[in-house]
């Protein structure tokens, strides 16, 4: 038998398993190599504009996708058990810098603005920075009602500036395709200060316009929490009307039959009545599970 004919085949059969084993070992070893932070410095936009040559739009897409992939990688576990680790301040800063760079390269690109608004406000408390980004988007995308709508919400809910919030909502209501509700909401903001109730109307609208599953889940949880707060606030108001003072605890509301049941905070915290009679929660409307799992796995 001619061995020479079969030799290359035998060699291949031996080399292929060897290839896969070296690949898996090397990728493990590579992960253990001392490296810098995954999130790093973002080049200033004028430099990025030069280095992206003829491909500003494409570079903008790549920066945005890179941010999206990084944010996705902070979720650990599988499907239903998926939990997000708490992001560090430096990581939030990096996300902001990346989204800023992406929108500098293509200021008309809507997705980075929406992503910034979804992540950097509620989670990172970077309201002013997010508003700056949204204002840039609003300047360029002058046909879009989303950006002034979000700006309105941020001013009203986070910054407590109802006047400015109403102004942006009015602006949003005049854009093509805007919900007729915006004008109504603007008027409400201008004259009343029903913060939670208005926030629920805002969030229901945001939910209606969002397709992204993660964002939808986020909005749904927040909406559930705010509805629970509104429910309890109404109970407190009824208590005050009946007794002339604020209740000392939520249990009192139930004792007097003002609320049938005490809602649970979907963020894992507990609702309580603050000194001024407002409803607060120990979770501060941030996921408690996230904080705990982060403490377990620093």
């Amino acid at each position: 038998m001619n061995m020479g004919r079969f030799f290359p085949v035998i060699l291949l059969l031996a080399l292929i398993p060897l290839y896969f084993s070296t690949l898996s070992t090397l990728s493990l070893m590579n992960k253990r190599l001392p490296k810098g932070d995954e999130v790093n410095v973002v080049l200033p936009s004028p430099i990025l504009k030069i280095t992206s040559l003829d491909f500003d739009g494409l570079s903008s897409d790549i920066l945005y996708l890179k941010t999206l992939v990084f944010y996705g990688s902070t979720f650990v576990g599988k499907d239903a058990n998926k939990q997000q680790r708490k992001l560090k301040e430096s990581e939030f800063n990096w996300i902001y810098d990346m989204l800023k760079a992406s929108t500098d390269l293509d200021p008309y690109f809507l997705d980075p603005y929406l992503f910034a608004n979804g992540i950097l406000t509620w989670e990172a408390n970077k309201i002013r920075e997010t508003n700056k980004l949204l204002e840039k988007g609003n300047h360029y995308r002058d046909w879009d009602y989303w950006l002034p709508f979000f700006l309105g919400f941020n001013h009203f809910y986070f910054l407590g500036d109802n006047e400015k919030g109403a102004e942006y909502l009015m602006e949003a209501s005049k854009k093509p395709g805007a919900s007729p509700l915006y004008g109504h909401l603007a008027a409400r903001l201008a004259y009343k200060s029903n913060k939670v109730e208005n926030a629920i109307i805002f969030l229901e609208n945001m939910l209606e316009k969002t397709d992204d599953k993660t964002m939808r889940k986020d909005y749904e949880t927040r909406l559930k929490a705010l509805k629970a707060i509104l429910f309890l606030e109404k109970g407190v108001a009824a208590y005050k009307e009946k007794t002339g003072r604020n209740p000392s605890s939520l249990a009192k509301l139930q004792e007097l039959g003002l609320v049938e049941w005490l809602p649970v905070d979907p963020y894992g915290g507990e609702f309580y009545i603050d000194k001024d009679g407002s409803i607060k929660t120990t979770s501060d409307l941030r996921d408690m599970k996230k904080t705990q799992s982060n403490q377990e796995n620093p």
Binding site: I50, D54, G57, L58, L65, D111, L114
Partner: protein, 270 residues
């Protein structure tokens, strides 16, 4: 024209037979397939990202075509000394340059036409799947952008003729062309940066500013041809701008080609 046509035709035929074209087309196809995967990752502006990728794929592949096929077509005649046979005919050296250029222009237009068709098919398919996210999409703008890419590549190709006229090897021509392309596409951004360096907190010497300002008038400003962002977002491009870009590219290309033929006339062949 009658004298230019045979040279143009033979250059075009030679170019289209070049195997590099298959590789470049394959690369473009792969990029357009990637378009399907990447667009799927985008939440809202699927249309914008799909257009970005399609136009960038065509632009990049076109550039490779000019650099690897275009330059080679010019250099081959010199390297293989087949130029003697052509110049022995009753045609001037200037006619030879213009004929060659016409052939390469034909090649660029044909190849870019094919690549653009592929890109358009990929856009069409993505559009069918994500109709809702293509509201500001505009075919005329995408086609205009393809045409601007072709004009830019023809200009870059003319530049390669200028370099080929005074260099002795095709490699030097290649390097000079690629440098000119990089300078050309980033020139206006670099000018903006050196004129307002405080934006990134750097200091720029007045000499650098003068050099960049000088370069601004010498090198072609290729960012004029880049309307990818306008095409991606359906932003209006006024007709006067289109006329301006066409006029700029024709004038610059003619200047460069005339210079190339002037230098080529004096060139001595070994």
């Amino acid at each position: 024209m009658q004298l230019l046509w045979p040279i143009a035709l033979i250059t075009f035929k030679e170019g289209i037979r070049n195997r590099s074209i298959y590789g470049i087309s394959l690369l473009a196809l792969l990029m357009l397939i990637a378009n399907f995967i990447i667009s799927d990752m985008i939440g809202h502006e699927v249309g914008k990202v799909a257009v970005d990728i399609a136009l960038s794929a065509v632009s990049f592949s076109g550039l490779l075509l000019v650099l690897f096929v275009g330059i080679n077509l010019m250099a081959k005649d010199l390297d293989r000394k087949t130029i003697y046979m052509v110049l022995a005919k009753p045609i001037s050296r200037a006619q030879y340059i213009f004929g060659k250029f016409l052939g390469i222009t034909l090649l660029i237009i044909t190849c870019l036409g094919i690549l653009s068709c592929f890109a358009a098919v990929s856009l069409l398919l993505i559009k069918l799947g994500h109709q809702h996210y293509f509201q500001r999409f505009s075919w005329p703008l995408v086609c205009l952008s393809f045409s601007f890419i072709a004009l830019m590549l023809i200009l870059v190709s003319a530049l390669s003729f200028l370099f080929a006229s005074f260099t002795s090897t095709s490699f030097v021509t290649f390097i000079l062309t690629i440098i000119s392309y990089i300078i050309g596409v980033s020139l206006s951004d670099v000018k903006a940066l050196v004129e307002a360096p405080q934006a990134v907190g750097i200091k720029v010497s007045p000499v650098t500013v003068k050099v960049v300002q000088g370069a601004y008038y010498i090198f072609p400003n290729l960012s004029f041809f880049d309307i990818k962002i306008q095409a991606a977002h359906g932003l209006p491009v006024p007709p006067s701008y289109i006329i301006g870009v066409v006029a700029y590219s024709v004038v610059y290309t003619l200047i460069v080609l005339t210079l190339a033929s002037l230098i080529f006339r004096k060139k001595e062949f070994p």
